[in-house]
Amino acid sequence: MQDDHQKPRQELPKKGLSRRGFLKGAGLTTAGTVILQGGILGAEAAAVDKTLGPDAVTIQLKVNGIQRKIAVEPRITLADALRDKLNLTGTKVVCDRGSCCACTVWLNGKPVNSCMTLAMDATDAEVVTIEGLAQEDKLHPVQEAFIDHDATMCGFCTPGMVMTTAHLLENKPNANLDDIKHAIRGNACRCGTHPKVFDAALAAVQKMKKS
């Protein structure tokens, strides 16, 4: 998404930069300064108005292992930030209300609906998207199993299905069919891949045991 009609962006301090230095550098004129996580903020800044936005704010987050800096209005969802700012369009927005899980990404290691997560809530977080699941050219066993078991059709639910399934298997190597159904119970598919997603997930369990 283009921001070229927006007002100048507010900048956030880089990690490691001292707060005092940052405030100086920013001229202390705008109200838009912030510290990102609870506990970081020192007493010295307590008097500063920490309100951000509504125009674009620069935040940092680690996406697929790479530290990124993006300018987002506070209203921008993580899904839109990934798709429009970082061109990571593998994450799909389908229902836009947290009811289909096509937008599932890992946020600090947990699968969440990126359409119902504001990008601000991913500040300083680690995000893994479908583009970041494979290690270089080596696909995740779940990705391989989806290919081997024809678990994709139109492919629009696939990124969410894969991210959800891969998270389950990373955390529950002995997952059975019931575990798989519980894990993907929120993932919608309209083409009818569910039966083959079950097959693929069970095959991936075996594959991951061997490796």
Partner: protein, 335 residues
């Protein structure tokens, strides 16, 4: 979504200082200048995405340290911080062991992805899922309008009791379990005062105040939910029936907590969600089952009693049968 400002609160005090509206206030009084508290944010984003509210500022309380966590003590009972995610409650071993119906209710709420984000405070403070209330195109009583569309409209999911004013049902199935356990909601207000509100008093009926579903007012937040310790002979069970098994809102859900003396019921709490505009306990069913053994006959009779005051609407009569059955089954399963 409309443009809004963002504020990361570092402590409860500053969050309460800044906020000037609950979601319900914003819906009823207009949201143009509203500064609204957000925890998990699912519910709030839903309203903003629908265009029902357009807040000026979001106050993020996820950033407040210490608002999450689960503490269990055999005598003091259970304390769950308001920012605790449903996933953390679901995965807590003590809760699974000591408060089975709560564990069951939480694991059936929403989807795993949502449970990773949704918090307990947000879950019980959420508003009804009535499709008229959630539609920007239907100005119903609860949104400051002059009618209840569901009374003469599509009321198949709606309340079968206490449904004369607004027939919506509360959305939280977790609340059904909390009600059965006699939980209290800890509310903190400006200036740091805390009060414990019994869960029976936490929810507000539409005939009391149509504009809100809980006693929570602006300048207040839920900081924790406490549940008393349960005796050794206490058994519980929770059943939820939605249209789908995978994930769904409840058409009917029931939590029972019974204290046994031998085989006999000494004390019973039978809570029903999606029956009435707020979660309700069935005194009639509780009184009936108290002092009796739970068996197929008494459980069925309790189910009948639970529904004796039902006033179903044109399209939701089936829910009466549904409740009769799941009250019965929950009682049978509990022992």
């Amino acid at each position: 979504m409309n443009k809004f400002k963002w504020f990361n609160a570092q402590n409860i005090e500053e969050a309460l200082e800044r906020t000037n509206a609950t979601v319900s206030d914003a819906i009823n009084r207009g949201s143009a200048d509203s500064a609204i508290i957000k925890s998990g944010g699912i519910e709030l984003l839903d309203f903003i995405k629908e265009g029902i509210i357009e807040p000026a500022e979001i106050i993020n309380i996820k950033s407040i340290p210490g608002l999450e966590g689960i503490a269990f003590d055999r005598t003091a009972g259970l304390r769950i911080g308001a920012n605790t995610t449903l996933a953390d409650i679901e995965n807590n071993g003590d809760i699974k062991l000591q408060y089975l119906a709560l564990h069951q209710a939480v694991s059936k709420a929403a989807t795993p992805q949502l449970r990773n984000v949704s918090t307990l405070g947000g879950n019980i403070a959420q508003r009804t899922r009535c499709w008229y209330f959630r539609s920007i195109d239907h100005p119903c009583f609860r949104k400051g309008g002059t009618t209840c569309f569901a009374q003469n409209g599509e009321n198949q999911m709606h309340a079968i009791m206490n449904n004369g004013t607004c027939c919506s049902v509360h959305a939280s199935s977790v609340a059904t379990a909390l009600l059965a356990y006699g939980a209290t909601v800890e509310i903190t207000s400006r200036g740091g005062q805390k009060k414990d509100v019994s869960i029976d008093d936490f929810f507000v009926n539409p005939f009391t105040d149509i504009r809100r579903e809980s006693v929570l007012r602006r300048g207040e937040i839920i900081t924790a939910v406490n549940i008393p310790a349960q005796g050794k002979n206490v058994k519980s069970w929770y059943i939820k029936q939605g249209e789908r098994a995978s994930f769904d809102w409840a058409l009917a859900d029931v939590a029972v907590v019974v204290e046994l003396s031998g085989k006999r019921v000494r004390k019973a709490a039978i809570a029903m969600g999606a029956a009435s505009p707020v979660p309700v306990r069935s005194k009639a069913a509780e009184e009936f089952i108290t002092g009796k053994d739970i068996n197929a006959t008494t459980a069925a009779e309790a189910g009948q009693k639970a529904m004796e005051n039902a006033t179903p609407l044109a399209k939701n009569g089936y829910k009466v049968d549904l409740f009769k059955t799941i009250v019965k089954r929950a009682l049978l399963e509990s022992v």
